[in-house]
């Protein structure tokens, strides 16, 4: 009896949380199509004009281009740099492995505001700060380890004997990599790529610290628009938020075809 009441309370809490969540996201979506909305459950008149307005006012064509470039380059670089590292970590034991894993783990553990400020200072000193290059270089610091830790379990599952068999049959090291390891690592690469991409598009702190005029990604532009609330109609800000949301959800929905939601967060049971 007491168990059943307890379970009911938990279900109600989850339901309440989800209702709030839907409300938070839904409020933004509804507001973005409102002509005017004041103290009524739903706006009296609906319009799509705020999308055109915010596209123009916030120069979203340019912002979107920056976002796509940053997300694309960071994802590609994280996979290219991260794959060999993850492969080695999955296959070999060597002295200092613990230290290397710690080095990869720290950028994910330490909040970006903490190491972002010294990082921004350094990059501004070398005049990379405030440019698209600076944004890419900084975002790669947490995204490279993220790619490594996502790839690691996938690569551990590929049996070494397959590689040995290929070697015995006369394949060169490169052929083994190209013909055996890479195809088998496909799902891992796809998962890592999608997750790195979602995280880069949504990554705020480092991008915020490193971007200047002309190198803002969508989420940073959205921050400035929310920060300066009152400068422009709230409906326009919300229209921009919906554009951002659509972009993140598009990648996320593809990603969720391949992974379970619990894989979106740190996996507690294995830390390298």
């Amino acid at each position: 009896m007491r168990g059943r009441l307890w379970r009911l309370a938990v279900s109600l809490f989850v339901l309440g949380f989800l209702v709030n969540l839907v409300g938070i996201v839904g409020h933004v979506a509804v507001s973005s199509v409102a002509k005017r909305w004041f103290a009524t459950p739903f706006p009296v008149a609906v319009t799509g004009e705020w999308y055109a307005y915010s596209w123009h006012e916030f120069q979203l064509d340019q912002v979107l281009a920056v976002t796509l470039i940053v997300a694309g380059v960071v994802t590609a670089a994280a996979l290219v740099l991260g794959f060999p590292a993850a492969y080695l970590l999955a296959r070999r034991q060597f002295p200092g492995k613990g230290a290397v894993l710690l080095l990869f783990f720290l950028p994910l553990l330490i909040p970006q505001m903490t190491y972002g400020i010294p990082l921004a200072t350094t990059l501004y000193r070398y005049r990379i700060g405030g440019t698209i290059t600076g944004v890419i270089v900084a975002n790669l610091v947490p995204m490279l380890p993220l790619a490594v830790f996502i790839l690691l379990p996938f690569l551990e599952q590929i049996s070494v004997s397959l590689e040995w068999a290929a070697r015995v049959h006369g394949a060169s090291r490169f052929q083994v990599f190209r013909r055996v390891v890479l195809p088998l690592a496909g799902p891992g690469l796809l998962t890592a790529g999608l997750l790195v991409m979602v995280n880069t598009v949504a990554n705020f702190e480092l991008t915020f610290l490193l971007s200047g005029a002309g190198s803002q990604t969508l989420v940073v532009a959205l921050y400035y628009a929310v920060f300066a609330a009152g400068m422009r109609p709230i409906y326009a800000v919300d229209a921009m938020a919906v554009i951002y949301m659509t972009m993140v959800l598009a990648v996320l929905l593809v990603a969720l075809r391949y992974i379970r939601p619990t894989q979106m967060v740190f996996r507690l049971d294995r830390r390298g």
Partner: protein
């Protein structure tokens, strides 16, 4: 050292762009702007200025209660779901949304939904509550924002962890006559606790670095002026990079201290050795 070759690019990258800037920041923080040589001037200035030092208290008063609440509720909700529930996929997918969408979007949504003209306030007014309390642009707003972000994060982590524990352990305890509470207290909790500690550490560290939520749904000039805001203002409003680095070092130190406390408790819990058998299958 041929075997190290595949590792080299990424290790060098992190050494150059993570370790080096951090060390550079520590050294820079010891050289206050406009002075020659090393001194603790920046740190003294930070701790002696009540307006700056107060940010530590402000941040802790957000981070500590929020971490406790988040982790407690995540355990309470994740534990009954360990054997799977109806609509699990739908629920977990919805819960991923705030994590994927990020703090800025959640902040904007909270300002709307919990704001004076938002749906919640309308509902409260319709229910006859004439003067509901303000929920945004204050301490409460930041607490809501962090909870909406970190509860799903913590819950999904713990759900993955708890459902990975071998059901046979629990079944054995039940067969031997343990009540549900005893199963939790004597069998499951000792197995869950290390994971809970790590989850708590992650949530605490994130909470202590709160920036966008504190600005957008908080009151960044007053009751939610957190350490991260102080560091940002030193760096990008006063362009005092040494001071900003000093504040970042203080912030990192607090995060490490919190981490150490939590890991200390984790150590002590596993040292009692109630049940350390079977890491369970994944």
């Amino acid at each position: 050292m041929r075997i190290a070759l595949p590792l080299l690019p990424s290790v060098l990258y992190l050494l150059a762009l993570f370790v080096y800037p951090f060390c550079y920041g520590v050294v820079a923080s010891l050289q206050p702007r406009g002075t020659v040589g090393f001194s603790l001037g920046n740190y003294l200035a930070f701790f002696l200025d009540p307006w700056q030092a107060r940010t530590l208290w402000v941040t802790a008063s957000i981070a500590v209660p929020n971490t406790l609440l988040t982790v407690l509720l995540a355990v309470v909700v994740a534990y009954p779901m360990r054997r799977g529930i109806r609509f699990e996929r739908t629920i977990t997918t919805l819960l991923v949304l705030p994590i994927a969408l990020g703090t800025v979007l959640v902040a904007e949504g909270i300002n709307g939904f919990y704001g004076p003209k938002g749906w919640l306030n309308q509902l409260l007014l319709a229910a006859g509550i004439a003067d509901p309390t303000r929920l945004t642009h204050n301490y409460t707003g930041v607490m809501i924002a962090l909870f909406v972000q970190h509860f799903p994060f913590c819950f999904l982590m713990l759900l993955g962890y708890i459902s990975g524990i071998d059901p046979a352990l629990e079944q054995s305890a039940r067969v031997l006559g343990a009540r549900p509470w005893q199963v939790f207290r004597r069998v499951m909790w000792p197995l869950i606790a290390p994971g809970v500690a790590i989850a708590a550490a992650l949530v605490f560290v994130m909470n202590f670095g709160v920036f966008p939520s504190a600005v957008l749904v908080g009151q960044p000039a007053g009751e939610t002026r957190t350490v991260a805001i102080a560091a940002y203002q030193a760096a990008f409003e006063r362009y005092d990079m040494p001071m900003a680095s000093a504040i970042a070092v203080v912030m990192g130190g607090c995060q490490l201290a919190g981490l150490a406390v939590i890991l200390f408790f984790r150590q002590r819990m596993s040292a009692t050795g109630v049940a350390t058998v079977g890491a369970g299958k994944r």
